[in-house]
Symmetry: C2
Subunit: 432 residues, 2 copies
């Protein structure tokens, strides 16, 4: 997983963020995401893409999520057309009688020159409720961390993160599906791979046994009970099992299969990174980028349809063009993580591979030049993502495809915003 | 991958097989595989399962395989109803004017007490043609091995293996899809993990880069060419890339996605085994069985529909019941490998984990008792597979499901038969 953790010790206490509280615009003004698709009916086949009135695809079963115990709030994000392309995000739900005033933008400076899209401030009511529930889940349901890690769990701001990445989630229950998985993925990364007792040594065995919490073992009656017991034996496995149980109840079997595949990719990525750490190998830049396509946020944006309460049909998800869009989006979001966590990783013990570090070493550039080149690599990936998404939307003008592409784009933007505003974890290097 | 290799050195020359040329029947007479499904219309919903007249599912596109350059032979296997349930395997193709006489059964003794099903001798005309073509592919197209490994490549008998496992392949071209992948999977296992220069050290990096031959990298124009070049840089990657290119041309996007997922599972399994080897860890029996559900033949039976020229739709493949059938079938076939390769692995340098070895160590049994217990584990998995397949066939009486289940069962039986008859590689221990 990209470094969104850790959940426990090393990082001591809240650090001040960079000097400005005003988001810095990128060097070029942001272009609309997949403009012909999301901006309105401006091109061939795009007229049918508006989501406000489009029927749900017939294959999508209503997820069996119980009614939320808190009132479903109409997010301000969706309360009206506040930006280019956002009008079509309206899901035609009844607005609350009284809309709260917009929250002030959170502090945190964007990486200068980074191509990104600003997002509206995540709905604070949803953020608060998701934050309350995820902490109860982590502490009471899966006993995720000892008491002294609480501050870091709070500093993770996973409620804000997931509310920002899933603006079209119908309810807080839907948001919880994504939030539990995000926390579980970080717990496995921290406890098995990285900061909290993790190690590259023997990692393959630990990750495979954890993976069986997602992709169950089918074995004989004599040996099955020991496996079942193992799933409760440590925080990472308890978290994977519980988060997956909740996910599977809301997802179709094909969505669950897709998620398992993306998690297998993630675990392969962890193991490639671990192998290089163990052998003290600095990969070529293209090799690093290949590893990072696997050790990647991909499992998070690809559940956007389950979290949104609909389904991108399996045969559409498997199309090479869809796979390309997903891969490029995942790669761009992951390089965002490399850029924002650069300073934090430099300060950690040992050499932590990230794109600027690999470029500096392999292409003999200064730290600053390597960092700036990594920004360009990110920007190229973002542009490629948006071009591929626009091509797919034009070639396959179906409502589920349009909504899925919009969901992935929203995840990309929300992910950037979380990194920008998470001044508890991230500070930028002094390169400008 | 289960040990079906190696393709090169260590093993010196053809070893004599066990003393008998008559297949030994298992202790209990074999039961029909999924009897209500394959034996004819005897139960609820099974009437529609006959494949002879069943229409292909509309979703299955005709694979764009060119007409075979050699005459398509009518396999003797399919020339008439020669055994319980085989009548419905007829694919209604025109029989050859002259059918060859049945070939004598190949030598090789089955593991006593092993629950299995005998299979008709694979069609020698197909075996010869697949063997000829795969050798040409390995030598001329992907430069798989140096000249001195040729004897071992021949001893692999992969033509016989794949013809035996895919009795319903419409043409030799379809059989080649499976055969190239099987050879490529063994090449990666041998060269990266095991006998031919493989090592657990750094394996995660090597496997991930090889995996990009199956699941392509999407990156920037600056770095993409180096990745493309890398795919031709060693025999394992050349083999993966070429075998996958051929497969993708014949498969639907969902079938390709399924295969990539199964290969990610396989690579995770390799990495768990490598982690244990590196740390000299002997897992619990259930942990070993979990690892072996990943380091598993699964990618081979699950392409049975592509090789058969039809498609099990993605949503049916993803059903938990289908996933359970596939997992149990894969687990049974993989334990077959453990049992037949036991003697060979004991003779290899270092400790090679297999089920009898792990049971002996963890349950403090003698080598003989542990081996016999492993046979029982296999038999339990086979019975569970057949029960789960029968349940699924009854619950989901669709032609594509029935044919897929029959294809998986045929793969299980063909795999056993290949192990039994591959006396070039395998000899049984002296426990009876």
């Amino acid at each position: 997983m990209p470094d969104t953790g850790p959940l426990g010790p090393p990082v001591p206490e809240r650090r001040p963020g960079p000097s400005t509280t005003t988001p810095v615009l990128p060097a070029k003004p942001p272009e609309p995401v997949v403009p012909p698709v999301l901006g309105g009916p401006t091109g061939l086949g795009t007229a049918s893409l508006s989501l406000a009135s489009a029927p749900r695809p017939p294959a999508a079963p209503p997820p069996p999520v119980p009614p939320p115990p808190v009132p479903v709030v109409q997010r301000r994000v969706l309360g009206g057309p506040t930006g280019l392309g956002t009008a079509s995000l309206s899901l035609a739900r009844t607005p609350d009688p009284v809309l709260p005033a917009p929250a002030p933008p959170a502090e945190g400076k964007a990486v200068p020159g980074l191509y990104h899209h600003s997002v509206p401030e995540p709905d604070p009511v949803r953020v608060e409720e998701v934050s309350r529930r995820i902490k109860r889940w982590a502490e009471d349901e899966v006993q995720l961390y000892p008491e002294e890690w609480e501050g870091q769990f709070d500093g993770f701001s996973v409620g804000r993160y997931m509310v920002g990445c899933h603006p079209d989630a119908p309810t807080v229950d839907h948001l919880m599906i994504a939030t539990r998985l995000m926390v579980a993925e970080n717990a496995v990364d921290d406890c098995y791979c990285e900061d909290h007792g993790g190690s590259p040594v023997g990692l393959g065995g630990r990750l495979l046994l954890a993976h069986t919490a997602l992709d169950p073992l089918h074995t004989t009656p004599e040996y099955a009970p020991e496996w079942q017991t193992s799933l409760g034996s440590d925080p990472p496995r308890r978290a994977y099992r519980s988060a997956m149980d909740h996910f599977v109840r809301a997802a179709t079997p094909s969505q669950a299969d897709r998620f398992r595949h993306d998690m297998a990719r993630l675990h392969m990525g962890y193991l490639a990174e671990a192998a290089w750490a163990e052998t003290d190998h600095v990969p070529e830049v293209w090799e690093y980028l290949a590893m990072r396509q696997f050790n990647n946020f991909r499992p998070c944006p690809t559940i956007t349809d389950t979290v949104g309460g609909y389904e991108l049909p399996a045969d559409l998800h498997a199309q090479p063009e869809t796979q390309r869009v997903i891969a490029l989006a995942g790669n761009a979001t992951t390089i965002v993580n490399d850029l924002y966590s650069y300073t934090k990783e430099l300060a950690s013990p040992g050499r932590h591979l990230n794109l600027p570090v690999v470029i500096a070493e392999r292409e003999r550039l200064s730290e600053r030049d390597a960092y700036l080149k990594a920004v360009e690599v990110h920007n190229d990936l973002m542009h490629a993502f948006e071009a591929a998404a626009a091509d797919l939307a034009a070639a396959c003008p179906l409502p589920a495809v349009a909504r899925f592409l919009k969901g992935v784009a929203a995840w990309v933007d929300g992910n950037h915003d979380w990194h920008r505003t998470n001044t508890y974890r991230y500070t930028l290097p002094d390169f400008w």
